[in-house]
Amino acid sequence: MNPRALAAWSLSGITIALATGNPVYRVLVLLGAVNVLVALRRPDVSLRGLGIALVVAGFIATAITTLASHTGDHAFLVLPQAIPVLGGPLTVEAAFFGASTGLGIAAAVLAAAPLSLVLMPNSLVDALPSALARTGAAIGTALNLIPGIARSATEIRDAQRMRGWRSRRVREWPDLAVPVVLTALESSITLAEAMEARGYGSGARTHYGEIVWRRADIAVCVIAPAAAVVFVALRLAGVIADWYPFPDLSVPPINVFGVMCCLAIAIPALVWRR
């Protein structure tokens, strides 16, 4: 698959997910993105962590909206007004609105996730325009250091424990933090020297393999952005209505063209194969 086409698809999915508050469209984008992730993810990638994180994020969004927004006709619990911010009626409508917000977050994150879970980092950097190649390489390298630092922190903590160190107080944390930072700095310097030895910064970035545009890539690169553009245009024209559950919970309005745009986001799952 073409990384630029996947980036265009990702941007389209995020656009649709964030352009509307209607949970029906958000669910469709979410399902499309999950299908793409499941079908195209790298074999060494697990989706379990991402799924747990999204469920937690959705739960937090629902809880915060339910507790802080006291609008709506159907209260299921009334907290004392003396409690700042939280005091007042907790309504079913606010809970649904929070869940819809959580759905939007999940759909947008899942639309962006293939950039890291489907593509290799070097493919993504290769896909950047030449003007952004060095910046992209630097950012990508910096991001790649994060898991390395996490691994290093775990190793150092285990080593310190074997020496009898226990993290009971905050003032004992430097015993762990200082070696971790020093190790990270050392790794960065080593990486920079290795990149320089390979000619980084001496000229234009070269590519081992050329980026090829196949029919499926062109289909994704055309259909997904077109769906996003049509969706936003219909949204601005008022054809696709937004949804608010206040003051009374109602069924979200569904437009057939909006649904078609959302379903078009699932196109990579149909035309791409890993």
Partner: protein, 276 residues
Amino acid sequence: MEPDEAVIRRLLRLTIALPLLALGVGAVSSVAQVGPAAPLCAKAAYTQRVGLVVEHGDGQVIRRCVGFSTATDTALGVLQASGLEVGLSSYGGGLGAAVCQIDNEPATYPPGCFTASGSYWVLFLSRGGGAWVNSDIGASSVTVTNGDDIGFRYDSQTAADPPPPSPAGTCPAITPRPTPTPTPGPIRTAVPPSKPAATPRATPSPPPGASVAGPALSTPTPGVLGVATPGAAAPLASVRSPGNQPGVNIGVLLAAIGAGALIGRLGTRAFRRRKE
């Protein structure tokens, strides 16, 4: 039949059943939007009277004559006593209530009541039959007294705010009733109808005993001074939100089929993965 084939068949059945289930839920939801009726005029039996003119975004005008017994009332109190559906949100910090929705317009609104660019309810005030004046304070802070009129117009945020139609005739003249021959018996006391609950898409209808005329003034009946409702011939709920009428919505059907297909595809893939 192979066990794999049986499972795939089951998944396909699920793919078909999900859209049908969603369709059924949608149909039930759209049919279940009929709510109890709301009274047209409340508190009208009192001598202190305030006219209420509500102009919807589509130009439809509703007039109510609302009575109360205290010397003054707030514009919000009059609106709530009119029997029209009202949706409120609190400004917070003692700033009072924001009127987000009147008579189900807009159909829904965000938690903060106002959208960035959409329309909103503009409050006008007419003191003692004078011209409409745009109120610069909220409905819960505006006090009104006998002979005043309040107007709400659903207007966009961008253009100027033209006032609603004249309030003249909103509160009908009281026709003196012929003096009844004193007869022994219990004294009849007019009881104001209870405050209606905010019911979605409620069709306004007169309370028991009230008579409602079209453009002309209604004949006073015991307990009700009278109501003039020019232009309010059809129930608003039936005029607006045509998309909510019962029936098969192609968008709902397509969404259900699409969602079912995507879920079915995920299930099939998970099953194959497990078999491998």
